[in-house]
């Protein structure tokens, strides 16, 4: 593994569990022919099943995957943890439950198949009475199909349904043997996709007064996932629901007093103290560290290449020069031959060279000559800058009358050249003057600074502030202008309207025959800068440059002015709160960037149980539901129930739930009523245990629906008893 993380509360995500042991089915001998009741807790997350006489159930996540394995191209049917072993299987995973409703009977059939195979059943029918769970007031469709499966496919002799939370309550309040079950209490059941409250009086669970909130552990972990994705939009790896439910189960807790907690967490230090950091796996990019010698070698190579290129260029130039010389020589020869040969032949020769007449020949010769001379000069004085010596313009002074046409042209040319030369000289002198001025200024400033550091620093700082304020004001103005109703925007519209108005000229001037004198005064044009909202950039650039210059000076000389005071850092400053909420890491710190900091979310997510509207679910929270449920009972009954408030279900394992429920219930009850909140001893397995306890009694046969009754009534009708649903239940 890797090194110890520097911060104390960094938690690594759990490594994927080792592949589960392949289960071999149990022996059936023990139960063959004995009719031991089968107890199946059909949960939305886990399936628990077993013989009623066994102490522990078999458990497995309630998922099925049926897919074709790629290696041997064989179809494969997997259940539970086996689905995790193959990623292809995970993609094909199906669960019988869709949220809170049993819908996928294919999957249920396969899950039950697995359960029975594991139990070792080999008879042509499942010859055991079955006790199964269903949801609180389960939809009749689900119940009908489950009954159909059990009776027709598996041929069970009898089937009974119960509600898991009530059985968990039963297990924790077992009556002494041979006594009636008459416990009272308020059962709060935390399930995967719902949370329900069931009142129990005298052993009877009052299903008609029960209520269900459509918010459970799966929705909470989805909410946590959404929050993490919002907080870390550019997170390097994908966060999955499995990981977020792990985080929910291990890092989140209920706050006893949520508003007080939020007020405490306002302080960034508290925020930091309460955070948990989850480190996600990351890959360190392989950086090939080139050693010193390698670097040197590469530099050498590059230099050599550069030199080679230079040499090649020089060679090319020489070649071209040589070529030009040859050409020049040829042309000169040609010119000499003119004297020797007669005109016609000479013209023919000229045409061969591509020249029209003698003048062209002369011009070409002159051009080549000039190029050659320039090139030679360049080579001779390669690195020196050519000092511009004073060229002479002799013809400028000669009056026009004395010159002929060509002379005039020459004169014009020379005049232009002279003007250019003089302008350049002037510019050079001005530049020098400016440089001297600037140097003088800087010298003065340095003297001032050396004389009195603080005063100089203060002066500069004031300028700095003024500039920053100006920029802020401009930014504010920009925002204001974008808002249609602001005063600035309306003023702008007024000026536009004014400019475009026909009767722009004031009356007095018109009488005196005046026209619109806009523009005579240069300041008038400034109004266009005001109107044009997009053109502020040049101003900003100037300001920024000025600001930068001042900052440089201050940074260099003023000990109190640090990089923190510069404009850039002020802009990018995040408040302490935000940095505590979501600390930023450097660009290259991949380990840091793969971390998720959970601070407020640790309490925010469980708070949704008490206020689902935080997450967009329009439903009453747990506190309100408790109030509603209890409002329908008399005070005496209330008193009996609240002495035994029972928390059932795996999600109730989140810490802090018990005190929270206590605090929620205490204010709505009369102060003298004793209130006690108890969790189940084993939140996940107690429901199954309660069912097993019940199945061992003789009562099971009384409340089950037998095969014959099923065939008569259909799958939806059940018998009404203290642990089962009431919808479509006939009293025994």
């Amino acid at each position: 593994m890797s090194t110890v993380p520097p911060t104390p509360n960094v938690i690594r995500l759990p490594t994927p569990a080792p592949p589960p042991v392949v289960r071999t089915p149990a022996s059936y001998e023990e139960h063959r022919g004995k009719g031991t009741p089968l107890v199946i807790d059909n949960g939305a997350t886990t399936l628990r099943w077993g013989w009623a006489t066994a102490g522990e159930p078999f458990t497995g996540p309630n998922v099925i995957a049926k897919y074709k394995e790629r290696k041997h191209n064989k179809p494969v049917l997997l259940f539970g943890e086996g689905v995790d072993c193959e990623s292809g299987a995970r993609a094909q995973a199906r669960t019988p439950w869709e949220g809170d409703v049993l819908l996928n009977f294919d999957a249920l059939e396969h899950a039950l198949d697995y359960a029975f195979v594991q139990l070792g059943i080999d008879t042509p029918a499942v010859e055991h009475p079955v006790l199964m769970t269903e949801r609180l007031s389960s939809p009749l469709h689900s119940r009908a199909l489950t009954s159909e499966l059990m009776f027709e496919l598996y041929s069970v002799p009898s089937l009974a349904y119960c509600v898991d939370s009530v059985m968990s309550f039963y297990h924790n309040n077992l009556p002494p043997p041979e006594r009636q079950y008459t416990a009272d209490g308020l059962v709060i059941s935390f399930n995967t996709a719902s949370t329900s409250v069931v009142p129990v009086l005298g052993g009877q669970s009052i299903m008609s007064h029960a209520q269900r909130i459509p918010w459970g552990a799966s929705q909470a972990s989805e909410y946590l996932l959404k929050l993490i994705q919002l907080k870390y939009p550019a997170f390097p790896t994908r966060v999955t629901t499995v990981q977020s439910s792990w985080m929910l189960q291990n890092l989140c807790e209920f706050a006893t007093d949520y508003p007080a907690l939020l007020r405490k967490l306002k302080d960034p230090l508290e925020l930091r103290a309460s955070e948990r950091i989850v480190q996600f796996p990351f890959t360190v990019p392989v950086v090939e560290e080139k050693t010193e010698e390698e670097l040197a070698r590469i530099a050498e190579k590059r230099k050599e290449q550069g030199k080679k290129l230079q040499e090649m260029a020089a060679r090319n130039r020489l070649e071209r020069l040589a070529q030009k010389e040859v050409d020049l020589q040829a042309l000169l020869n040609l010119k000499e031959r003119r004297d020797k040969e007669n005109k016609k032949e000479w013209m023919a020769l000229l045409q061969e060279e591509g020249l029209e007449n003698e003048a062209a020949l002369d011009a070409t010769i002159k051009k080549l000559d000039a190029e050659l001379k320039k090139a030679k000069k360049k080579e001779a004085e390669d690195d020196e800058s050519i000092a511009e010596d004073e060229p002479s313009f002799p013809l400028v002074d000669v009056p026009d009358a004395d010159l002929d046409e060509e002379g005039l042209k020459e004169k014009k040319k020379q005049r232009l050249m002279k003007a250019g030369f003089e302008a350049r000289a002037r510019a050079r002198r001005e530049k020098e003057r400016e440089r001297e001025e600037r140097e003088a200024e800087e010298r003065m400033e340095d003297e001032e600074r050396e004389r009195d550091l603080t005063a100089w620093a203060n002066k500069l700082r004031k300028e700095h502030e003024a500039l920053i304020n100006k920029m802020k004001g401009r930014a504010r103005k920009k925002i204001e202008l974008s808002d249609r109703k602001s005063a600035a925007a309306q003023a702008r519209m007024k000026s536009i309207a004014n400019l475009a108005a026909d009767d722009r000229v004031p009356k007095k001037r018109r009488k005196a025959g005046g026209e619109d004198m806009f523009g005579a005064d240069d300041a008038d044009w400034a109004i266009y800068r005001q109107i044009n909202t997009a053109a502020a950039d040049s101003d900003e650039e100037d300001d920024l440059n000025q600001l930068h210059a001042i900052e440089q000076k201050l940074l260099a000389h003023d000990p109190n002015f640090t990089t923190e005071h510069t404009h850039a850092s002020i802009l990018s400053q995040r408040s302490a709160l935000l940095s505590a909420f979501k600390p930023l890491y450097e660009e290259g710190d991949l380990e840091g960037r793969s971390r998720v900091h959970l601070n407020v979310e640790r309490w925010r997510v469980p708070e949704t149980w008490f206020s689902p509207s935080m997450a967009g679910v329009d439903s009453a929270g747990l506190g309100e539901v408790l109030q509603n449920v209890m409002a329908r009972f008399s005070d005496g009954e209330k008193g009996k129930m609240v002495q035994n408030v029972f928390l059932a279900g795996s999600p109730s394992r989140l810490p802090g739930l018990q005190p929270r429920i206590h605090c929620t219930l205490r204010p709505i009850l009369p102060p003298e009523m004793p209130l006690q909140v108890k969790p189940a001893s084993d939140r996940s397995l107690d429901a199954w245990r309660g069912m097993a306890d019940f199945a061992k009694t003789a009562e099971l046969s009384k409340v089950s629906v037998t095969r014959g009754e099923y065939e008569e009534w259909g799958g939806e009708r059940i018998k009404r008893w203290w642990g089962g649903n009431w919808n479509l239940a006939t009293p025994i």
Binding site: S27, E69, V101, F105, I121, S137, Y154, S208, L230, R263
Partner: protein
């Protein structure tokens, strides 16, 4: 060990003609070929029955609930007619159905929480509707893109309709 009458109860479907790698993990877990004698071969799942969609199931529940309630009301009326005096005492509760059990919407006043940090949020940003905790969070919100702002709102359940 295996009881009589049972075939090989191995969980895996190991290839008889052994491929050199042996059965993969998935095959070891697979119980596709495990004998399942307890299943009734005569039962043919109603092939025409399509897996019902959740929405339809819930609608059907609501229908049943309504029917049941009407029926009960009728019964009560008839019973009232028979005995002229009102029945005293036993008022049978309404039968609970899956949809009737659901908790009603909340009537308590909702606390406002910051969409970004989760702390208390006394302020709302007018342009996007996001709630925020203080100035610094406001600066952050101003810098959010439109889609990011919509995502935050969606987490709260507010889905602004885009025209």
């Amino acid at each position: 060990m295996p009881p009589k009458g049972s075939g090989k109860r191995k969980l895996g479907s190991t290839d008889g003609s052994a491929t050199p790698q042996g059965p993969t993990l998935a095959e070891q877990y697979s119980y596709l070929h495990a004998p399942r004698p307890f299943k009734n071969p005569n039962y043919s799942k109603n092939v025409n029955r399509r897996a019902r969609v959740l929405k339809n199931v819930l609608t059907q529940e609501r229908e049943r609930e309504r029917l049941e309630r009407d029926r009960r009301r009728q019964e009560k009326e008839e019973a009232m007619e028979v005995d002229e005096e009102a029945k005293d005492g036993v008022v049978e509760d309404d039968m609970p159905f899956y949809t009737s059990i659901e908790a009603p919407p909340s009537v308590l006043p909702q606390k406002r929480y910051c969409d970004i940090t989760g702390l208390e949020a006394p302020y709302t940003e007018p342009a996007t509707g996001l709630r925020y905790h203080d100035k610094s969070v406001y600066e952050l919100i101003k810098g959010l893109s439109v889609s990011a702002a919509k995502d935050y709102l969606a987490a709260r359940g507010v889905n602004p309709i885009v025209k």
